[in-house]
Structures are given as C-alpha cells and as structure tokens.
Amino acid sequence: MSTVEIVEVRGKVEKEHPMEKLLRMDRIPHIWCPTCGIGTAVKAFATALEQLEIDYNNVAVVSGIGCTGRVAGYMKLDSFHTTHGRAVPFAVGLAIAKPKMKVVVFSGDGDLISIGGNHFIHTARRNVDITVICVNNFIYAMTGGQVAPTTPILANSSTTPYGTFEYPFNLPLLAASSGAVYVARWTALHVRRLTNAFAEALQKRGFSFVEVIAPCSTLYARRNKLGDGLNLMKFYHDNSIIKHGADPREVDIGFQEKIVVGKFVDIEKPTYLDCLNDGYKRVFGDAYKVYGEEDE
C-alpha cells in the first residue's frame, strides 16, 4: 500500500499545509465526519504546540477509544492509542517514567469521564503532571450515538430514545473539585482562545484540563434535530457566555441552553512528583536521590 497521499491543489501552487509537520499525513484524510469539531480541536492543539516552540520530540499524546480516541493516531508525535477509558493511567505511567516529557491525554467525554472517570479524578487528585483534553460532544459517537455521562437532560440518544433523564456531569466542576490546577472550557468555535488554553495548559505543571465543546453532526445533531455541525457552531456563537473565573459549580450545560466558557481555574500546586520527592527528602535527607532531575 502506498503511504503517499495524492493531493490535488486547485488553482494555486502546491504548498504544504502549515500543520503537516505535526500530522501523520500518510493517514490524512481522517475518519471524522464532515462538520465534526474534533479536527478543529486537533488543529488548535497543533497551533498551540507551534506557538510554544517546544521540542516536538518531547511531547507524547495518549488517547483512549472513541472518535476523539483517534487523535493519537493523527498526531506526528510519540503517540499511544490505548483501551477504552485507560488513556489517563497509561499516561500516568508514561509521565512518571519520563518526567520531562509533556504527556497529553486527548480523548472524548465517554472515554475520560464514564469508563475512565475513576482514573480521571484520581489523577487530578494526585496532581500528576499531565494535560487532559476532553472533546465533549455530549454523546458516544463512535458506537452510534448512545447516551453519555455528559448528555444534557432531554437530549435524545440511541439508548435514551425518549430523552435523557439522568443528570449529566459538569466536567469543569469535576476536574476542579478533584484537584486540577488548570481548568478551562471553550467550544470548537472559539479556536483562538482554545489554542491559548491549550498553550497555557501545556505550560502548567500539574494536572491541567481543557474541555472542548465540539459539534457531532452525524449523531448528536441529527438525533436531536439540530441541523449539522455548522448549525451547532452557530449555536455556540449565539449562546456562549465568556466568564473567566466563573465558579465551576455554575457552569452546568443544559440541553440547548447557554454554555459558560472561559478559564475557571488557574492555580499553582506542587505536582505528584514534587510531593513524592519532598516527602522522601524529609525522611531520608541527603541520602535520597531526587527522582526525575537527572538528564537522560
């Protein structure tokens, strides 16, 4: 099989897309549907990496399963596509083994918060130095539109055909109350702010969390008669309220209701390894060799 993508460029001279250095071009076009917002989130992430001017060799992406779980497969970085819900603990092992590496978990709401919910809260509690990006499309998309822990009350899914009646999770509140040092939420429409949030989260030491509200046209929008992804983008445009520093308890998302976006938490706190090293230094004194300091 040829690994070379044949691209016809209309009109203009052939030129590489500026993000090609960060993408596995032999796998593009990706599997995401037209008007899906995940590609936009990936673009924002790539732009953030570019803006930070960090060594790309030093960044790893870990994904779980689902539509967003495929992100790892498209990023031209050391990338790991793990099992459903387990991207976070895999990333914990990797981040501890490579303390100087920027380890980013890029996954979906069902993966991170439902099956991986326990891993998510405990990793935030430990303040392990990883960045978690959750693309929240309010539904299990890869499996065909089942209810997710984020599906707003009243929204329809293939397993709540009469409308969801369960309370959804408020992800910024979950992350903040579990101990995350950085919590932000943006929609796929707020690309520039999203890019900045990614850049800030990547620079943060400790557990940083960015929720990206993204359109799912094929399942969430279609099942709920909301048009396509473009209509959802317009909805975000008209219904997003930017409120930096908002109390995470007040950023619940109702079905087709206002979406509060912004940076909610940005604090400093020693990381898991800082605490571990401090703890052992207290006990063992100079005999203790600080973990993660030496250069490889």
């Binding site: 690994t3 596995r24 032999d26 796998r27 790309y56 060799n57 030093n58 790893a60 870990v62 790892a72 497969g73 031209k76 970085l77 050391d78 990338s79 790991f80 596509h81 793990t82 099992t83 819900g85 387990r86 976070v88 603990p89 895999f90 990333a91 914990v92 092992g93 990797l94 981040a95 501890i96 083994a97 490579k98 100087k100 590496m101 326990n118 891993h119 405990h122 571990l276 052992y280 006990v283 063992f284 005999a287 203790y288 060799k289 973990y291």
Partner: protein, 391 residues
C-alpha cells in the same frame, strides 16, 4: 537464533546475602534485582506484601511506587511506564487478576515488556482471599479476549519466587510480552531461606531498542526471531502504537488480511521460540509407569505420595512445570506412548489437566487429582490417584 545481549544487575538494586523471606517479599526483591523501577499496584490479599515491600524499598533504589486507583489503572500504568523506558511490574490476586485482563491484552497487542505477579487464591469471585488456589491458570492463558500466546512461570518456593521474577523480566524484555509469575497464597506466605546472589551473578536482558534512525524505523517490523525492536520514547521516532489491529507501521488497519498477519506473529513469536522458553524439571522419567505432573506449591505437596508409591514398587516419574505456558506439548505427547498414565495434580477442578489429556491423545491414561483450593492437597489423595493410575 538471535543472540541476546545480557548485562549484569546493578549492585545497588541487589540485596545480596541470605535472608528469611516469604514468597511475596522474595518476588519483590526479584523485581528490584531485575532493575524494575516502576510499580503500579492495588492492594489485594494475598499479594499485598509485594506492593508493601516495593513501596518500602523503591525510594532507596530510585524507583517509583504508586498505588493506583484500581487494577485496570495499575496494569495501564505499568504499560505506560514500560513504554517510557522503565522496567515495570505489578502484583495482584483473584478479582484483581480479572480486572487486569483487559489491559493485559493491550500489553500483548502493543508488545510491551512488563511483569505481573498473580498470587493465586481460591475463587470464583471474592472466593478465599486468604487461602491458596491454582484456579487462575486458564485465565492466565485465555483471560483476555482474542487469540494470543502467553508466558507463565510457577515458582514453588520463596527462593524460586525471587529467581523466577528475574527470569520473568528477562523473558518479557526478550520477547516483548507481559509475563505472568503465577504463584499462590501458599508460596506467597511461606517463609524460607532465600539466597540472593551477588549482582555479578544475575544476568539481565536489557531493553532491546532499535538501532535504526527515526526515518527508517517502523514499530512492528520484526527481527528474525519475530520480535520487533522497541523505539525509545522522546527521541524523535514519533511512532504510533494502537490496541487496534495494526500493520507494520503501528497504524490501525481493520481488515482480515492484516488481522491474520498481526495475530499470527503475536502467536508465532512465542510458539516458534517455545523451545527456548519452556522450562520443565523431570525426575525418574526413565522407565516410569506413571508420570506425575504438577506446578507451584503442588509439586512439593506431592512428594510424600510419590515416596509412598515408590516404596510399594510403583515406578513414578515426575514433571514439574516451571513454565506452565507455553505448555510443553511435545514432551507430554512424546512420553504418552511410553508410559501407562499421567497423574495431574493441581489446586483446581481441572485446568492444565485438559492440556495433558489433549496431548496424551488417548495414548495413555490421564488422571486428575482435583482440589477446589483453600488448602493444599492431602498427599493421601495423590497416592490414591497414583494407585488408580497403575490399575
């Protein structure tokens, strides 16, 4: 056969000397001596002493112990750490073993070296947390979904718990596979003399990294021995690996053709190297009427029965399976036509027994001495089975 480079253990990691240790502590020391520097675990009886000893020893040898939130997390964390270039292990028992199965499968698919110690207790479900069993042997073989081959080692003493944990690390690095150390509550909690040799006497297989440049490297192009070499993380290889069926590039490809290639090699890398992996101990096989098979603690429990039968003139041979998986099919098949009967003694209602029966293929009698666990076999039951076998 590919010549495998070994290095000596780091003296700082090896607690050289004579010790009085239980099997769990010995396993922990084995892991540390093997250079393990990451342990992700979750407390579960009767394996917890391994985690406890590691948590006490690791700060002094530069390792990181982390008590994860559950066994799924433990298994994934050791996979992540292993990909980060650090030797890693976990331990568990009973229900925890079931929880680890999902991501044991990921370890198989990603071809990740690491070690999982299962201190077996009685099941099913919560079963007998504080009492022994050997009823996870088939779960070790088939517990995760899909087709794959495994390596499982069964120590019969604290000394062997130490040695086989090191051996497990070596096999896992050699064949890029998570390796099981299938001990049991008896061995785990039995305290005996353990001799830890000097570091210069411990040979370790280091991580087998590729020498190719990032431009010409793909993660799943195997060497002649069917085992691909690993990429170092963070060095610009920008590799991708996935739990999905993948091609040589590590990219997911969802079709029957790639599935055949992918799964076939995962199986073949163990099957075709089985001769080098299989480790059995034979005793008095020459001219034996009955050959008694056992592993782990059971191989010690059967000794009085063998002696009693021998005194009565019954020619009893013995095979101790140090590696239960891969199963020594060829040897069991070959002996079947030369002996009268196999007696399989294991602390379960027939697991490895069915492998023996399959390989004997009707050429000799096969007798199982079953036991649901909770205590070791009564040697008298084994003796009765031997008598039954020679009838």
């Amino acid at each position: 056969m590919t010549k495998i480079k070994t290095v000596k253990a780091d003296p700082r990691d090896v607690l050289t000397g004579e010790h009085y240790l239980d099997g769990n502590h010995a396993s922990a020391e084995g892991g540390i001596a093997a250079g393990c520097k990451f342990f992700g675990g979750y407390p579960i009886t009767p394996s917890t002493e391994i985690a406890e000893r590691i948590s006490q020893r690791f700060p002094k040898v530069g390792g990181i112990f982390i008590q994860m939130e559950d066994e799924m997390a433990s298994m994934n964390a050791i996979l992540g750490a292993s990909w980060g270039g650090v030797k890693s292990m976990t331990c568990t028992s009973g229900p925890g073993f079931s929880l680890m199965m999902e991501n044991f499968g990921l370890g198989i698919m990603l071809e990740t070296p690491c070690v999982l110690v299962n201190v077996q207790r009685g099941g099913p479900s919560t079963g007998l947390p504080t009492l022994p069993g050997q009823a996870d042997m088939m779960q070790a073989r088939w517990g995760s979904h899909g087709d794959y081959e495994v390596i499982a080692l069964c120590p019969d003493s604290p000394q062997e718990s130490f040695e086989l944990t090191i051996h497990a690390f070596n096999l896992s690095e050699r064949y890029r596979i998570p390796v099981f150390v299938m001990t049991d509550e008896c061995v785990g909690h039995m305290t005996e003399k353990v001799v830890i040799p000097g570091a210069e006497e411990i040979d370790l297989v280091p991580r087998r990294y590729t020498d190719k440049s990032p431009e010409e490297y793909w993660p799943y192009i195997p060497e002649k021995d069917l085992v691909p070499l690993m990429p170092p993380v963070g060095k610009g290889y920008k590799f991708h690996i996935t739990g999905l069926t993948h091609d040589y590039r590590g990219y997911p490809v969802i079709n029957a053709e790639v599935q055949e290639k992918c799964v076939r090699r995962l199986m073949d890398k163990i099957i075709k190297n089985a001769k080098d992996i299989i480790w059995i101990e034979e005793k008095d096989i020459e001219g034996a009427e009955v050959v008694l098979l056992s592993y782990g603690i059971t191989s010690r429990v059967v000794q009085p029965a063998i002696e009693k039968a021998k005194k009565e003139g019954i020619k009893v041979g013995q095979i101790r399976l140090v590696t239960v998986w891969p199963f020594p099919e060829e040897r069991v098949r070959e002996l079947a036509s030369k002996i009268g009967a196999y007696v399989m003694v294991e602390m379960n209602y027939g697991q490895v027994y069915y492998e023996v029966e399959r390989c004997a293929a009707g050429k000799c009698k096969t007798v199982l001495v079953p036991h649901a666990g909770g205590t070791v076999h009564n040697p008298e039951d084994v003796y009765v089975a031997i008598k039954e076998a020679v009838k």
